[in-house]
């Protein structure tokens, strides 16, 4: 598959946006400038990016608690995301959602979700909605290895398979659910194997290779759009940071993985990998990449400034938006 230069640049920009946004979010959470639970996906940027690069604007995604990357990759604005994380009324959800619950319907982002596994049936239904409405939009469900043990995984894949719904199930397998190693709670080595239980294609994907992710997703999306039904993709990746920012405060000296394992995965950084590929293939110059970094840093700085200077919601807004009164 030949990937256009624009697409390549866009992918790199997306990965940088995610990396920089989440690094900032982490720092702000550590500094207690933003409240609540913040889960970052640093180290996993390639899967969100490669998947969403294969989607068009009217396609939809559902995400999970570790959702910043997915949202940014689907086109979410850094300023409104940051404002939401700060709890400001200029945020995507007017401050009602926070880090775990950012949504932008206009971009087909049906939302991050605080309940593990909850996004899979919603994505399946979103695909069903497209069929009912006679549209050929595809929906992607992002979820983790941990979520693949939830009943909703099973119910969703079965439903999507029997109704041949246009949905792509993307499992980001980072080896852990919170502090529990995947292997101790999951009966298979590869989540992709579970596709057999639904008679649908299942593929293991190098989740740190944005180009491979893009290729597999493009194929799965084409299949879905053609009415041939769902695909399960398993992107093998790793999170460099803790499950939740600040986890050391309650874990204390408890640790659940070797430092060396983290270091090993840092060497597989998806951004560096892509930069190397650019250099080797000669497709993109390092100056072009640097410009992207600089642009993104500026965009992020503006986003933080926007969030900081935005107003908090007024207490009276607390009762808005419970019901749709139209």
């Amino acid at each position: 598959m030949d990937i256009s230069k624009d697409k390549l640049l866009e992918m790199y920009r997306t990965m940088q946006k995610i990396r920089l946004f989440e690094s900032k979010a982490r720092d702000l959470a550590m500094a207690a400038e933003i409240p609540g639970f913040v889960h970052v996906s640093i180290g996993e940027e390639a899967s969100a990016t490669g998947v969403c690069a294969a989607l068009r604007k009217t396609d939809r995604i559902t995400s999970n608690h570790r959702g910043h990357g997915h949202l940014i990759a689907k086109g979410g604005r850094l300023d409104r995301m940051m404002a939401e994380i700060f709890g400001k009324r200029t945020g995507y959800c007017k401050g009602k959602g926070g880090s775990m619950h950012i949504v932008d319907y206009s971009l087909g982002i049906l939302g991050a979700n605080g309940i593990v596994g909850a996004g899979l049936p919603i994505a399946t239904g979103s695909a069903l909605g497209a069929v009912i409405a006679g549209k050929d939009d595809v929906t992607v469900a992002f979820f983790g290895d941990g979520a693949s043990n939830e009943g909703t995984f099973h119910e969703s894949l079965n439903l999507a398979a029997v109704w041949k719904l246009p949905v792509v199930f993307v499992c980001e397998n980072n080896g852990f659910g919170e502090f529990t190693p995947m292997a101790t709670v999951t009966s298979v080595k590869d989540i992709a194997v579970r596709a057999k239980a639904y008679d649908i294609p299942g593929h293991i994907v190098d989740g740190n290779d944005v180009l491979e992710v893009f290729r597999f997703t493009s194929e799965a999306v084409a299949r879905a759009r053609a009415g041939e039904g769902p695909t399960l993709l398993e992107c093998k990746t790793y999170r460099w940071e803790g499950h939740v920012v600040g986890e050391q405060a309650f874990l204390g000296d408890g640790s659940y993985r070797e430092k060396s394992e983290v270091e090993e995965w840092k060497r597989k950084c998806p951004l560096i990998r892509f930069e190397k590929w650019c250099a080797e293939s000669g497709k993109i110059s390092s100056a072009e990449l640097k410009k992207i970094i600089a642009d993104t840093e500026k965009e992020l700085a503006d986003a933080v400034e926007f969030a900081r200077s935005s107003e908090l919601p007024a207490p009276s807004e607390v009762t808005d938006d419970v019901y749709n009164n139209t």
């Binding site: 959800c93 959602g97 919603i122 909605g129 009912i132 009943g151 419970v322």
Partner: protein, 323 residues
Amino acid sequence: MPQISFIQAINQAIAEEMERDPLTFLMGEDVVLGAFGATKGLIDKFGAKRVRNTPISEAGFVGAAVGAAMAGTRPICEVEFASFFYCAFDQICNQAAKLRYMSGGQATMPITFRAVFGAMGGAAAQHSETVYAQFLSVPGLKLVIPSGPSDMKGLLKSAIRDNNPVIVFEHGALGWSREDVPAGEHLVPLGKAAVKRPGDNVTVVAIGAMVPKAMSVAEKLEKEKISVEVIDPRTLIPLDEDAILASVEKTNRIVIADEGHLRGGAAADLAAIVADKGFDFLDAPVRRVTSLDVPIPFSPPLEKAAIADEARIEAAIRAVVGR
């Protein structure tokens, strides 16, 4: 006006609303054949794309209804027995109910959930429950409990058109009850109680299948010059508080009759409202007639002992009016 049954009313409401809007569709276990008759024949009118038998996987297909609603369609999602809602509680309470608010108003969730509930003769504890009390404290939902065919049709049509998740609870024992129901357009608004019978001495607020029971008690007591006002709230969320309070202001006495349990039930919820906002009107304790706080037993004499009935409604009325 044609006489039709509760079940036929459901069928009519769904057929009319699916006729009206091509994005309205029906899904659930065995809706094609229509296990209780409510959805029978719809497949012939609307085809397999819009009338869908789901796998037995409540969380999955209830969640799919949520996603389909977010994608701009209007699902009618049947969960045969209300007790099976328990298998999909997350998708209803954490997702359907909350996602609009949590998204700052971005999501619209026009879903109608339907389920049969209540004691219907030997169905035992896992098929006889009155589950709505557990949704009362879930802001974002609307709860509808029709007490007869005409309201069934009018409320269900309103529920389907509503842009929020609405759960319609259909009492199993009312299935074959019949009454005059307007053909075609007939809408009963959500949030408007019905005064089923005016009275002066005591207000009986009755829910679902308790309404016909309360009516028969009221008729009986009429002969003794105990004048009972029977109010059917019809929807618990939104609730027509004004109708209830206005009645208590007049009668100064209230009995709340519900098939749910005593502890934590819908009757407790209504009693609390009256004990607060209607306190100054009250001349007697707020009395509740509910089922006993036991799982609903199978054996007929036990089931009868467990479920709120006319005798207990009558006793409660006599207690509060002191006769």
